[in-house]
Symmetry: C3
């Protein structure tokens, strides 16, 4: 068994779900392992990760709206220093996750047919985000 790691730099255009499945699969394919475990880790507290449907774009719009309703912008938060979109960004990150691990079997990630991997940007303005990929297997 062996390990491999890489840091992806992702430029996001602002709030919303940004698919990174292809970048992740490309790293995995390059390592040529048959069986293993891939971990995706987002190094931020105002952007997160989500596995969701990659077919109908309406699903992503509905998801973005729902997350914005559950963790809305509000003048009632104590933390206001970094702008009105910052505290909701922390809450939306807590609502989803910063880490996903996906088994690798038969040389492929075990993602289902409709599953895509998304970086979920929660800040209003474009950001450069770092996502660490770690793979171990043989």
């Amino acid at each position: 068994m062996r390990q491999a790691a890489r840091t992806l730099e992702i430029r996001t255009p602002g709030q919303g779900l940004h698919e990174i499945t292809r970048e992740v699969q490309s790293f995995v394919a390059g390592e040529g392992m048959a069986t293993g475990l891939l971990t995706v880790f987002c190094r931020h507290t105002s952007a997160s990760l989500l596995i969701q449907e990659n077919a109908d774009p309406d699903v992503r719009r509905d998801l973005e709206d729902w997350v914005a309703r559950l963790a809305p912008e509000s003048a009632s938060y104590r933390h206001q220093d970094e702008g009105p979109d910052d505290m909701p960004a922390h809450l939306r990150t807590a609502l989803t996750t910063v880490q996903l691990s996906i088994p690798l079997t038969g040389g492929r990630l075990a993602l289902g047919t409709w599953q895509g991997i998304y970086l979920f940007e929660h800040r209003a303005r474009p950001h450069r985000r770092e996502v660490v990929l770690h793979l171990l297997g043989d």
Copy 2:
């Protein structure tokens, strides 16, 4: 160190928490490892995983009700093609998770006394679901 993987096929009777702790433990026990890491991965976007209390069934009913309140059926979603229970199913999957990793120590999963592993079916009708188990250790 070595790896093992298996895909469980779970038939769900419709919406609700469906315990799979025994199936997962059976796979782990069969591999006879002392120390390791087990990953459970759900290959769907309308069913998810949850570790929760396995003692009082009322906890599961309250959990199901709460998730249904936070991500209700609604005519206001854009995505309506697959029925009124489909978009809420995606939201409820995002609210919980499709992946869990549990350490194995002393030959046993490190689950607490009251922790059970559940497949959370979010669609109204019965479904056949695939859950991938991946174990590595020695």
Copy 3:
């Protein structure tokens, strides 16, 4: 490649986010690995884990308030046997997570600059909590 595991016992003073980054990093540093994968697992159904901002304490207060609004105490839950704070504690655990995996690269956890690891106590009274750490790598 090799593995190491340890169980941390954490005494919480009651509801709120309790930082455990230092304890986790201390375990990892003691193993002296360059590359690997760390898993943190909380063995409870009324306390959880969260990676969040470790800079402004107001972020943690806002997070605690938000979680309490999404999963409030209520007389309408079926499960009331263990006190009014117990069922909300299960819901708040489901809203966050009991497991985090963090890659180790260059001899350090891949946590971002502002990311801290927190044990999130959801019960009102002080508790003794067990958090299992599992590390594999070389």
